[in-house]
Point group: C2
Chain length 203, copies 2
Amino acid sequence: MVLAMKLIGMLDSPYVRRVAISLKAMNFSFEHEELSVFNDIEKMKVVNPLMKAPSLMTDEGILLIDSTLILEYLDRKCNENYSLLSKNMEQFTKSQYLIGIALTLCDKAVQLFMEYNRRPPEKFYQEWVDRINEQLQAGLSLLDQQVIINDAGYLIDNRIMQADISIAVMLKYIEKKLSSIYNNYVSKKLKVFSSAMESTSLF
Amino acid sequence: MVLAMKLIGMLDSPYVRRVAISLKAMNFSFEHEELSVFNDIEKMKVVNPLMKAPSLMTDEGILLIDSTLILEYLDRKCNENYSLLSKNMEQFTKSQYLIGIALTLCDKAVQLFMEYNRRPPEKFYQEWVDRINEQLQAGLSLLDQQVIINDAGYLIDNRIMQADISIAVMLKYIEKKLSSIYNNYVSKKLKVFSSAMESTSLF
């Protein structure tokens, strides 16, 4: 009997969520252990002393860390019909480009959320926040220019791929955690795309 | 004529450095534009509005962001004899595991450096620093337990692979930027490995 893979982390992290949705999209069976890197510190340390989510315990008992490294592993492991990365080099490159923008926006959004929520008010540093805000606005504008939604409703191919997932989880994170950024700097096109993705059964 | 790829970013970033060394190890010719995300803001914005390094301009003119996404692209593009990831699934999984630890340690080391160096002293937040310090110590200890240097002097195979590069650039970053962490929490074994890697022609 092969043990199921186990995903560890909270779905309010866009990194955990992209792995969870990708596991489903790739048709893997997996368990999900919802441990928080902030609220379940002692349990988390036992799983992963680095206290980082997502972590994926593979069915051979190896603990993988970092969502992109985990997804690279899953891409090699999955049935190739379910791969979320195109074999076509042009499509693959476009996908890596869009995922790069999405992940950088995730990083910046998380940094901004942490500055607001994980520090006492007197440790809040406005210049740093201004820089991140500028990066977020620039990235959302770039993404709006670069995203083309095809007739099937997706970005790369005629089915959901990793670029679709990564952009959608980033947009939902910003909507939930940084609503003024979402309201003011996410374009209509990206909002429509987000709603469409969130209404699919995978999300 | 095919344009050369261009790597953008400063080599004092471990993420830029892992891509630079990997490009050489994969036998790619490339240009390197040393722009700083802090000191060359206007030039950097033109290249990448998200102000993130490394960025890789591909020879088709696509700008890739995020070192792991860039390396995944390069792995598909390179002559397979030069791939830095094993085709053997067991070796590949072990490699992703070690790279995951290395990248998380990079993230934590960069966060600590930024807290010390990119904020005015009154915005320094000791509790956050304590948490990062604990993560760094735990991760370095885990890495020391998990790393096995083979007879050829490498971690995964009988030649340099991505796990070797990622761990070595992380150790050098900590040595240069956080010397007290390096002196107190990096094991003898890891220090010997770092010196050996840094003395090769690729580094």
